[in-house]
């Protein structure tokens, strides 16, 4: 190391970690300097999460040393790492919905006055921290359960800030954020950087990595493959390091006009508490993208079509026949499947096996046409489907929670495919899924459309929305703000989403 560079805030040397004999980390070296945003990228299963957990004291390394602020440290618990000044913003939100913003922010280190929790100080200081990052409008005595995902993320960051952390670990911080919220996060990260804080930034979104980081460490199969200066690196090169594959092959081909079939789904004048005047037609063989900001009704639309939060007004027809989608079960009966954005909460039964998860829907709706088969044949069919979704490296009796996000999503897909659905609703199908598995999911979605399914895909990621969709509708304030054809640009989508573009007529 050159003597001109500031000494590292964090230095990992030869970190190794195994779980049940499986080597998850192997000789990882990594250094973070004060004021540096150091990105860590890699496919799911590459060891990113485990490495972050080692740094934050959740796991202890089997080999290697952790040096923080000039001293060699062994963090035996998250608490010790926190006290040393390492804050972490977790991938999954770790907040208590029943408690207030302030109570969540100070959890574990509530300010005291005369031995008692000082509620006034808790509220004031939380308000101060919120204001310091430009979120002063968020009242600190609100119950977190009442906040949207993006606001909860803000609370999560404030919680880490409240530690006076010198190193902040951000694990997929934008996974749940809409694009304009990501900009706010950028501002925030840069502000932290100016204060000399080191940031370990884990993300699947390469754009963010390039926008924010000064150096990038690529993890693959538990090893640190390389550390690159961001300025001297291209996205192509980075992806090659990660998966050995060029960026250009990202999205499968769109549907050709002759591949589009009859109209599968028609919605006329439908609405509920979150949606108004929804009119849309979805054809067999097509992928209809749904864009919009968080809370614009894009998820509500998918949930309404699946009967999870049904329409109160309007008409819906499937293959020309009017239907009433009053419950998920009713939707499943007419051949509608739904992949939730909240995989952990709504997609999987974490403690059940891969096979049980895949069989869930088919067991629930025994005789949905056209699947009318015996139990053994049903299991066999699901096994085929698991193979068809290219589920790798998993035994079917393994609990699904031990699988990577990408593999979990494949199981969820197989579950729905078992019902041979005619209409598939995807809400953020690749949220929290790494680049490699992401392409696999994209290919699957396209294959399903090609096989004659009508696909509606909600996505907050513009490249995905633009890359996958044959047609795009953009939601705003619970209505369809406009429709775009396949060649649309990011700017057009954003303009409709935030309302700077004139609404499409009708």
């Amino acid at each position: 190391m050159s003597g001109l560079l500031p000494s590292p805030l964090l230095a990992l040397r030869g970190i190794g970690k195994s779980f049940l004999g499986v080597r998850v980390l192997d000789g990882v070296d990594l250094q973070v300097r004060p004021g540096e945003v150091h990105a860590v990228v890699g496919e799911n299963g590459a060891g990113k999460s485990t490495l972050m957990k080692v740094v934050s004291g959740v796991h202890q390394p089997d080999e290697g040393t952790v040096e923080f602020a000039g001293a060699q440290r062994t963090f035996r618990s998250p608490r010790e790492a926190q006290q040393a000044g390492i804050g972490i913003v977790h991938q999954e939100l770790t907040l208590l919905p029943e408690r207030t913003v302030a109570e969540n922010v100070w959890l574990g280190r509530e300010p005291l006055r005369r031995g008692l929790v000082d509620r006034g100080a808790m509220l004031d200081r939380a308000a101060g921290l919120l204001a310091s990052i430009g979120e002063g409008s968020l009242p600190p005595d609100t119950r977190v359960g009442r906040l949207g995902v993006a606001q909860q993320q803000v609370v999560e960051i404030v919680k880490a800030l409240a530690l006076d952390a010198r190193l902040l670990i951000m694990d997929e911080p934008t996974a749940a954020l809409a694009d304009h919220e990501v900009d706010q996060l950028y501002t925030l990260v840069r502000r932290l950087q100016e204060h000399g804080m080191g940031v370990l930034y884990v993300s699947h979104r390469l754009k963010e990595v390039f926008d924010l980081s000064s150096r990038i460490t690529v993890l693959k199969d538990g090893r640190a493959v390389t550390t690159l200066d961001t300025a001297d690196t291209s996205a192509d090169r980075l992806v090659r390091h990660m998966v050995g594959r060029e960026l250009s092959s990202y999205y499968p081909d769109r549907a050709q006009p002759q591949e589009l079939g009859p109209v599968r789904l028609t919605v006329r004048g439908a609405g509920n508490r979150k949606l108004r005047g929804i009119d849309l037609r979805l054809r067999a063989g097509e992928v209809l993208g749904v864009g919009g900001l968080q809370g614009s009704g894009r998820s509500a639309l998918a949930r309404a079509l699946f009967g999870a939060a049904p329409f109160g007004t309007g008409q819906v027809a499937v293959d020309g026949a009017p239907v009433r989608l009053r419950s998920p079960r009713a939707a499943m009966r007419v051949g509608i499947a739904y992949v939730s954005e909240d995989r952990k909460g709504e997609g999987i039964v974490a403690e059940q096996s891969v096979l049980d998860n895949a069989l869930l829907a088919v067991r629930a709706v025994r005789a949905v046409p056209p699947v009318r088969v015996s139990r053994g044949a049903r299991t066999a069919r699901v096994r085929e489907l698991l193979a068809a979704v290219e589920l790798r490296a998993a035994r079917e009796d393994q609990e699904i929670r031990f699988l990577s996000g990408g593999n979990q999503q494949k199981v969820v897909l197989a579950r729905w495919l078992a019902l041979a659905p005619r209409i598939l609703l995807f809400d953020e199908p690749t949220r929290g899924i790494d680049v490699g598995a992401r392409s696999a999911i994209h290919d699957l979605v396209r294959r399903l459309a090609r096989d004659g399914a009508a696909v509606l895909m909600v996505s907050s990621e513009l490249p995905e929305l633009l890359g996958m969709s044959d047609r795009i509708i953009v939601m705003r304030d619970g209505r369809i703000a406009g429709e775009l054809s396949a060649g649309a640009t990011e700017e057009e989508v954003v303009a409709l989403a935030v309302g700077t573009a004139r609404e499409a007529a009708g």
Partner: protein
């Protein structure tokens, strides 16, 4: 963003107090039509005594339930405590304070064992505390046939029978213990941490909360409350009674009171104020039925229906909130 925020959630009195008022009103009406008096002095005093005994146990139960655990050994802890207290006092006022101290120490030990089984041994609280309860039951069944020992007369006169107007001293003790528990939950780090552990143990752990320590403490507090209930019952009975806890159904009734009070059985939400309401509700139903001389079995059926209905109402409300 995520739409307009509704104003911050303020504390609203649990529905249990509405139910309590209704029960008292309807009960009064029915009892009066029947020719009795619900709010006569003896009835009121007895209602408050019932509430005091159950309440002490239920406040402790609230503490563990809020933390996402549960204690099914309380009934046996109560029984054992009456015996320890009465035997150690042996009718001697001079032995009063040491005897109470010994009783509380014994019950705290039971809580400690419960807590360690739940945290260190990671045994499901249901199984762990039932196991400890059965252990105590074995000891009680083997060693005692009937009332044993003699409670210090001062305690009998004081805690057992002293009143301020219609309010027994024991009920004031309950209010004091409940107030202390409220204070602990709302104003101490331990309380905040306990609610967090009940809400999501992993979140609490990742936030640096020592989850095991918090849960063990909660179990000790719960057992201490049961021990206190034992001391009170010894003061009422004048002796130790090896079956008083189980006959009083203190385990299940205390959980019923906690749930009626709006505390989530899964933990993380609720508090002692609601529990006191739940206790008063159960005691009032008891008093009304006693006045009406309702068949004991029918009484149990009605209580069951009320508890199920109350939980159903909470569940509906929780669903509305979630949607």
């Amino acid at each position: 963003m995520s739409g307009a925020l509704s104003p911050p959630a303020r504390w609203t009195p649990p529905g249990v107090f509405v139910a309590l008022a209704l029960t008292l009103a309807i009960g009064w009406l029915v009892v009066t039509v029947d020719g009795g008096r619900l709010f006569s002095l003896p009835t009121t005093v007895s209602l408050l005594h019932v509430a005091a005994g159950l309440g002490l146990v239920a406040v402790g139960q609230t503490v563990v339930v809020v933390g996402g655990s549960l204690d099914l050994s309380v009934a046996y802890t109560v029984s054992l405590s009456t015996l320890v207290a009465a035997e150690a006092m042996a009718g001697d006022d001079g032995a009063l304070l040491p005897a109470i101290g010994l009783t509380l120490a014994v019950s705290a030990t039971i809580g400690l064992v419960n807590g360690l089984l739940v945290t260190l041994a990671r045994i499901n609280p249901f199984i762990a505390t039932v196991g400890v309860g059965l252990l105590l039951k074995g000891y009680l069944d083997n060693g005692y046939d009937g009332p044993t020992g003699k409670t210090a007369p001062a305690l009998v006169q004081g805690l057992g029978y002293q009143r301020v107007g219609p309010v027994p001293l024991a009920f004031l003790l309950l209010l004091a213990v409940a107030a202390a528990a409220w204070f602990v939950l709302a104003r101490t780090r331990f309380g905040h941490h306990l609610i967090a552990v009940g809400g999501d143990p992993e979140v609490a752990r990742l936030s640096g909360v020592r989850t095991s320590r918090v849960l063990v403490t909660a179990h000790v507090l719960c057992a201490l409350c049961a021990g206190l209930a034992g001391v009170y019952l010894a003061s009422r009975l004048g002796a130790g009674a090896p079956r008083v806890g189980t006959e009083g159904l203190y385990d299940l009734e205390s959980i019923a009171a906690v749930v009626l009070g709006g505390t989530a059985l899964a933990g993380g939400r609720g508090g002692v104020v609601g529990t006191v309401g739940g206790v008063l509700l159960l005691a009032s139903i008891d008093a009304v039925f006693n006045q009406l001389e309702v068949d004991v079995f029918f009484k149990q059926v009605i209580r069951g229906v009320i508890i199920i209905a109350a939980v159903a109402v909470y569940a509906r409300r929780a669903m509305r909130k979630a949607s």
